[in-house]
């Protein structure tokens, strides 16, 4: 048996993001449930979020974001041989989202699988794509985080209706020519299955979250994971240009950022106009920050996904 050589390292060459057209503001929500704009802003930090149309699917959003990333990458569809869609809200169990998304993007016969690590999904998928490229299982991968959480939210439950939203973000991953050009650092990933009952979708119907427990876990257990990812990559927190955690809740984002030991780092706050889009939140934030010129080529960024499972994953990446 032979083993392929693979690439010495992996890198991201482009991002793409997609948000549905329908905007729901805090005022819109306050019209039908017992909440207020002020309450939502102070507890979660969101002012508006996007909700997919009734006929707009997870695959539709994944295709939109994936298409943008592919267009920006300089690669053609023929150049992609692996598609991973991180999602915890597919409309059906089978077929998976990734094979259909690949087909719709004109990507011929790539490896294609969906990955469910909830809000840690994008970081898990990025690590998997990086590993595949380095092991020689793929030459170039399209990694997408896409979610339609609105399908699973009880719109009369003010604890979840104000938080969760829809969207997709994507990255194109290829090999790098030399180890020193590595732009996707080693992942630090893990799980806390003893807390499985803290975030779940019950009876195939509604999303449920024990907010205070999750807040406590996120604001105590994750800063060490973030620092470990920096250490494994050999990049000190103070060297980071930005910290882009899953946009779960602005209070969580800020609490972890305070513990990172990098007072000058830009902290992503995309949640303000995106809501919590689970696995889409990190690539959506990265796509938008790139578009707005907040992150230049070569900037080191720490990404940290965390959520239902409970699961978490972090790695340092270098911006394309």
């Amino acid at each position: 048996m032979r083993l392929p050589a693979g690439a010495p390292a992996a890198r991201i060459v482009a991002f793409g993001g997609y948000q549905p057209a329908n905007v729901i503001t805090n005022h819109d929500l306050a019209a039908t449930i017992a909440t207020s704009d002020e309450w939502i802003r102070s507890r979660v930090g969101i002012t508006s979020r996007r909700i997919a149309g009734p006929d707009e699917s997870v695959a539709d959003m994944a295709v939109a974001a994936g298409g943008k990333a592919l267009a920006a990458s300089g690669l053609t569809a023929d150049g992609i041989d692996l598609v991973i869609v991180a999602t915890c809200t597919p409309e059906v169990q089978i077929p998976n989202t990734s094979a259909s998304v690949a087909h719709r993007l004109g990507i011929r016969a790539p490896g294609a699988y969906d990955l469910n690590a909830a809000c840690a999904g994008f970081c898990y998928a990025l690590a998997s794509a990086s590993d595949a490229v380095r092991a020689g299982s793929a030459h170039a991968a399209l990694v997408i985080g896409a979610e339609k959480l609105s399908s699973w939210v009880d719109w009369t439950d003010r604890s979840t209706a104000i938080i969760f939203a829809d969207g997709a973000g994507a990255a194109v991953v290829t090999g790098a020519d030399a180890a020193r050009d590595a732009a996707i650092g080693p992942v630090v990933w893990g799980s806390a299955g003893e807390h499985a009952n803290k975030i779940f979708i019950s009876n195939q119907s509604f999303l449920f979250q024990e907010g205070l427990s999750v807040f406590r876990w996120a604001t105590t257990a994750l800063a060490p994971v973030a620092r470990a990812a920096c250490e494994r990559a050999g990049v000190a927190p103070s060297e980071l240009a930005a910290f882009v955690p899953h946009q779960a809740n602005l209070r969580i984002v800020e609490a972890i950022a305070r513990q990172l030991g990098a007072p000058d780092v830009i902290v992503a706050n995309d949640i303000i106009e995106a809501g919590n889009t689970s696995s889409a939140s990190i690539p959506l934030a990265l796509a938008r920050m790139t578009e707005k010129g907040h992150l230049g080529s070569g900037a080191p960024v720490l990404v940290l996904g965390f959520g239902a499972g409970l699961t978490y994953a972090a790695q340092v990446i270098i911006m394309p």
Binding site: S42, L212, F215, T219, T220
Partner: protein, 84 residues
């Protein structure tokens, strides 16, 4: 090395100042977290975590809803430390 309630109150004042930005001298026993100090449930979790680290007593999430005033926390910490 049991702490007095006064010492606990002083420590709690520093924690609340750091987490919620309320000056320590405004953290007096009778004050209600929500109504008087404008401290919400998320900040209470952060305060409980910091108090756990500082005073060495467990303050589980289920307990937080019973801790409505500054004195409630001081008494809880004092009671838990004494019986530890």
């Amino acid at each position: 090395m049991a702490m007095t309630e006064q010492e606990i109150l002083a420590g709690l004042g520093e924690i609340i100042d750091e987490i919620a930005g309320v000056p320590a001298d405004e953290v007096t026993p009778g004050k209600n977290f929500v109504d008087d100090l404008d401290i919400d449930s998320l900040s209470m979790v952060e305060i409980a975590v910091a108090a756990q680290d500082r005073f060495g007593v467990e303050i589980p999430d289920e307990e937080l809803k019973n801790l409505r005033t500054v004195q409630d926390v001081v008494s809880y910490v004092h009671r838990s430390a004494v019986s530890a």
